[in-house]
């Protein structure tokens, strides 16, 4: 328990250790700590930014999808309209065509009927004349009645 040179030696040792710590230990560790603190802060900021960007991108994507859907719906509606139009047009065409065919057919039928009627009338006249000739040959003197006959023939 004596006070001696140990006191001085310890003081010198203390000074040397503090100097060493101050010069070679403390600054690098503090620098490392500060740098890491900054890096972490930067990383957190970047993460925050990333989250924001993702939200923005999601919003954009949703908008794009919405727009595309509207466009698709428009296109479908247009196509449906066009299809309806085409069907209508086809129906109209078909009707006109049918009308035309029917009209043509009835005109032909009438023509045919008229021709048949004309033919028939010719044949009836020929027959009547033939019948009348036969009857008249027997009862009527051609000469006596020639004026009446001529008159008749003229009428026919």
């Amino acid at each position: 328990m004596n006070i001696n040179l140990t006191l001085i030696a310890q003081s010198i040792t203390f000074a040397l250790f503090v100097w060493f710590c101050m010069r070679y230990v403390w600054p690098p560790i503090m620098t490392a700590l500060d740098t890491r603190r900054k890096e972490i802060a930067d990383g957190l900021a970047a993460a925050e930014r990333g989250v924001n960007e993702q939200a923005l991108a999601e919003k954009n994507a949703a908008e794009h999808i919405k727009k595309a859907k509207t466009q698709a719906a428009d296109i479908v509606a247009q196509a449906q309209k066009r299809a309806g139009e085409i069907v209508e047009e086809a129906k109209g065409n078909a009707k006109t065509e049918a009308q035309r065919i029917v009209t043509g057919a009835s005109a032909e039928i009438e023509q045919e009927a008229n021709r048949a009627r004309e033919q028939l009338r010719q044949e009836v006249v020929t027959l009547a004349i033939a019948g009348a000739e036969k009857v008249l040959k027997r009862e009527v003197d051609k000469t006596a009645h020639s004026s009446a006959l001529d008159e008749l023939a003229a009428q026919l």
Partner: protein, 300 residues
């Protein structure tokens, strides 16, 4: 126990004697030559020009160990994910940094590293108290006998540097010198003297002021001088008492099996409790140093 022939009182005395190197005084064997003291009386008679080799050995070894480990980490410090040791070192550094930031308001790049050095160094020196008290002295006795041809009974070896007042005063007086230096540097000689003489009793009347000066000086001087004294004696007293109790517990080992087992339990219990003191005293020394440095930097 290091020797069967020792009585309890001799055993205690043996444990409380430092390994002292110096000029062997008159009236002892080999008087006039330099060497280790063989007895406590011889060590005492060596006077101031002698040195406690054991205290200095452990003090330097432990301080160097601290600086070596921390320097190694500082050199390879990465800013990425830190490893286990770096994590621990950074934790310590941040702990000290937070403490210094909390109680030191001035600007001095020396205070925080000094606080770190004091804390870890004192912590390591205090930890030597936890090592079973006979191991290292016994080893030293064997080494002294084998290599230096000394009588192992006369190889004194104390392993707790902070239980040596030289060590604690060495540190606290250094801190005191820094206090005085920074006080005068920051406040000027006038400011420092004024702080010592013009408070706590203040007066407007010049005559009363003059009368107050001796009273103030007495009070302030005592409070100033008590700082390094209390700083070192607190640490020394705690560790010395702790060591003393370990020595007394160790005495039980020579009292038969039952007492030996009882001593073992006691030693374990005291070691656990002493861990608190080890940590607390290192922390108190560091904190008070920072506070004193703060006082030296800030004016009233």
């Amino acid at each position: 126990m290091s020797g069967e022939t020792l009585t309890a009182s001799e055993y205690i005395k043996h444990h409380l004697q430092n390994l002292t190197y110096g000029k062997i005084p008159q009236g002892f064997e080999h008087a006039g030559s330099w060497g280790f003291a063989h007895t406590p009386e011889e060590a005492r008679n060596m006077g101031f020009m002698s040195i406690h080799v054991d205290s200095m050995f452990w003090s330097i070894i432990l301080g160097a160990l601290f600086l070596l480990i921390f320097r190694n980490v500082a050199k390879n410090a990465t800013t990425g994910v830190p490893g286990g040791l770096q994590n621990f070192v950074e934790w310590m550094v941040e702990f000290i940094d937070t403490n210094v930031r909390g109680s030191f308001t001035g600007k001095n790049p020396m205070v925080a590293p000094m606080a770190l050095t004091l804390f870890i160094w004192i912590l390591l020196m205090n930890f030597m108290d936890i090592v079973p008290i006979d191991w290292l002295p016994h080893l030293a006795g064997m080494l002294g006998a084998d290599f230096l041809g000394m009588d192992p009974q006369h190889v004194y070896f104390r392993v707790v540097p902070t239980a040596d007042p030289n060590i604690t005063f060495g540190m606290s007086l250094s801190v005191f010198a820094l206090m005085l230096y920074y006080s005068i540097k920051n406040k000027g000689v006038g400011g420092f003297v004024g702080e010592l003489t013009l408070q706590p009793f203040e007066a407007k009347n010049p005559l009363v002021k003059l009368l107050f000066i001796p009273v103030n000086f007495f009070l302030e001087f005592v409070s100033l001088v008590s700082k390094p004294v209390s700083l070192s004696l607190r640490l020394f007293g705690n560790l010395y008492a702790g060591e003393m109790i370990f020595i007394l517990i160790a005495l039980l080992y020579s009292g038969g099996a039952a007492l030996g087992i009882f001593g073992g339990v006691l030693q374990w219990a005291w070691a656990v409790f002493h861990l608190l003191i080890v940590l607390l005293q290192a922390f108190i020394f560091m904190t008070l140093t920072v506070v004193y440095m703060d006082m030296a930097h800030s004016s009233h």
